[in-house]
């Protein structure tokens, strides 16, 4: 199967909400995702971190074609996902699947677990009935559930088990790419470790490509190969996992890293950190220059005029700041 080597390529992706004309006025445009580009080699994990509302989920949904793409291109292997028509999109969906944060609300409470995992196979008519049954039993074992648990309903599973079900369902169509939006954020730390280890093992065994969204920098550092930091709809810094954490360049990345309490830290060194003040501006009324300027501890007058471009600042390291 050559699609196993396919990479995800996102080029200048934009998702704007609203902006349509109402009866009397023009509705304001929300620039949720505003020119995002990155690519993920097959079998790798690409992380997206950033403030609440910075556009992480919207980026994920746009790649999945679950929200309308305003502009830009999304390619997975040889398939241009962003340009597929309805029929082709339905067929192509087996290549890319999504796992959501909330294992409670993302599973249909009236369906038995086996049916939930089987559903994508039925919808896409993959294999014979008997083959689908065998496949579901297999998937249960792969994610660490017992095949006899197929007969249970979602409420009879714990949070961690429900996330395993979500993974089994996503894996059912043998996808190349799994988009994971905060997959462990709702789980207790002990269960989170079980799921992260499972995801790493599945990736190794099946050659999966992950797009991994999380606000937990420790988790991202552990699981991702390359990481993009988003702020107000744009990527402000991007690097491999070692570079980003040892040599952060963008003032927002630095502030974000400084904000995380460290288990090896103590009361004393807490005091000497830079702190951000204020809230981010709204994605409706975007400021003129750098979008971070209103909170940036390094901002200069020109930051409020000039827009910093995301550019190469080191080997495989990109940043969007006028001062670096």
């Amino acid at each position: 199967m050559n699609t196993r080597n396919s990479a995800l390529v996102v080029e200048d992706l934009k998702v704007h909400f609203g902006g349509g004309r109402g009866l009397f006025t023009t509705k304001p445009t929300v620039h949720a995702v505003d020119g995002v580009s990155f690519s993920v080699p097959a079998g790798a994990t690409f992380g997206i971190v950033g403030e609440s509302g910075s556009g992480k989920t919207t980026t994920a949904l746009a790649i999945m074609r679950l929200v309308p793409v305003t502009a830009g291109r999304v390619t997975l292997g040889n398939t241009v996902i962003s340009e597929l028509d309805k029929e082709d999109l339905r067929a192509a969906r087996r290549q890319f699947q999504i796992v959501f944060q909330d294992p409670y609300s993302s599973l249909d409470p009236r369906k038995r677990a086996g049916e939930i995992v089987r559903e994508p196979l039925d919808l896409m008519q993959i294999g014979t009935r008997a083959e689908r049954d065998a496949k579901v039993a297999d998937l249960f074992e792969q994610v660490g559930l017992r095949p006899e648990q197929r007969a249970l309903f979602p409420h009879q599973f714990s949070g961690g088990q429900r996330q395993r079900l979500g993974l089994a369902r996503a894996l059912s169509t043998e996808p190349d790419l799994i988009v994971c939006d905060e997959p462990v954020s709702a789980l207790d730390v002990a269960i989170q470790a079980q799921i992260l280890n499972l995801m790493a093992r599945l990736q190794r065994d099946l050659g999966l490509t992950y797009l991994f969204i999380s606000h937990d920098l420790g988790v991202v550092q552990h699981i991702c190969d390359e990481i993009a930091v988003m702020y107000l709809g744009q990527i402000v810094e991007q690097a491999d996992r070692v570079t980003l954490f040892t040599n952060p360049q963008h003032p927002y990345t630095k502030a974000l890293l400084a904000a995380v309490p460290m288990v090896h830290g103590n009361k004393r060194d807490r005091r000497n950190r830079i702190r951000l003040k204020g809230d981010p501006p709204s994605p409706v009324n975007l400021p003129k220059g750098c979008r971070f300027a209103s909170r940036c501890p390094m901002a200069e007058p020109r930051c409020h005029q000039e827009v910093p471009e995301l550019r190469e600042i080191g080997a495989g390291h990109k940043g969007a700041c006028l001062l670096i």
């Binding site: 002990a190 470790a193 420790g218 988790v219 550092q221 996992r241 995380v260 309490p261 807490r270 204020g278």
Partner: protein, 327 residues
């Protein structure tokens, strides 16, 4: 530690459920002194919020009940006080920041009115003086343009600002003990850091004792002086933050610290799988006679299934409830 300001002594809380009696707090003992931050950590459902509610006299009853034990504030017994007496204690002596800020703010009153209300409940202040105090509190929690923001309704504020309003309400009457139940779970890391700084400032300026409930060991390391680790309704380990984090004795505490992918300033190139705590937390209605952690514990011995290990000193003031741990 100096004499405790607040002490929780051997408290048992039971809930009647369809599946039988659930012992939600099983002989819990904690203490916090003035100017000290006590952290409480543990997995979901282990009884952290219930400990806070029992201190506040807010255990939902029925179905819940404080079956036995004692909770004393400067020697004064709180268990068994009338609702009117408890109401006085809450806010004047003990303030609480709840887990979900939106559900504990009233959507139809401005935030200024809500803080002023809390001031007036416990002091004889005129409406005008109470409102002035409210604005002053908003300033103290670093809300910009406090006099304008006092006139805002909760939905007009960001999550971080709402949480700061909750802190302002809890602090309006200068309580001696502040209980913060996961005060930052829904917030961004940068906003969380602001809230933590605020708590730390308040504690060092006013000497308020703080009980900080969290599942974040990093927050414990950077904020708390002492920590209690809870599992299935019991305190399984208790000591100073330095000793518990650097030399954990209970297998559950060890697991909690190592299973989290902590942010490292110098991440290792090779990533090993995370150590796991296998299995899940047991149902409180199905606990046996032995150690509740036994089904998940790698150090288990025969004795563990037969009796609950008492919380006893292992090294100095460091207490552990485990048959295997200790000197």
């Amino acid at each position: 530690m100096s004499a405790p300001l607040l002490s929780v002594d051997d408290v048992v809380v039971d809930f009647k459920t369809r599946a039988g009696n659930a012992r939600v707090l099983d002989h819990v003992s904690l203490e916090v002194a003035s100017g000290e931050i006590l952290g409480i950590v543990g997995e979901s459902g282990c009884g952290k919020s219930m400990t806070a509610l029992s201190i506040m006299g807010l255990v939902p009853s029925p179905p819940g009940k404080v079956t036995s034990g004692s909770i004393r504030l400067e020697g004064r017994e709180l268990v068994g006080l009338s609702e009117a007496e408890l109401c006085e204690v809450r806010g004047r002596d003990i303030g609480m920041i709840f887990q979900e800020p939106m559900s504990s703010l009233n959507p139809v009153f401005t935030v200024g009115e809500q803080i002023a209300e809390s001031v007036r409940l416990h002091e004889n202040a005129s409406p005008k003086a109470a409102m002035a105090r409210a604005v002053e509190m908003l300033r103290a929690v670093e809300i910009p343009e406090a006099d304008l923001r006092a006139k805002a309704y909760p939905h007009q504020l960001s999550g971080g600002m709402r949480q700061r309003v909750m802190i302002a309400i809890a602090l309006a009457c200068r309580p001696r003990v502040l209980i913060a139940d996961e005060p930052t779970t829904a917030l961004d890391a940068t906003v969380q850091a602001q809230i933590f700084d605020l708590l730390q400032d308040l504690q060092s300026e006013t000497g308020t004792a703080i009980i900080l409930i969290t599942h974040d060991m990093g927050a414990i390391a950077e904020l708390a002086d002492r920590v209690a680790v809870m599992y299935a309704g019991r305190v399984v380990e208790k000591g100073t933050v330095d000793t518990v984090l650097s030399d954990p004795q209970h297998p559950y505490t060890k697991g909690l610290i190592t299973c989290v992918p902590h942010l490292e300033p110098e991440p290792p190139l090779v990533r090993a799988p995370l150590p796991e705590i296998p299995g899940v937390v047991p149902a409180l209605t199905e606990l046996g006679m032995g150690c509740a952690f036994a089904p998940r514990c790698g150090n288990r011995i025969a004795q563990c299934g037969e009796a609950k290990p008492p919380l006893e000193a292992t090294v100095g003031p460091h207490l552990t409830a485990c048959w295997v741990a200790g000197p």
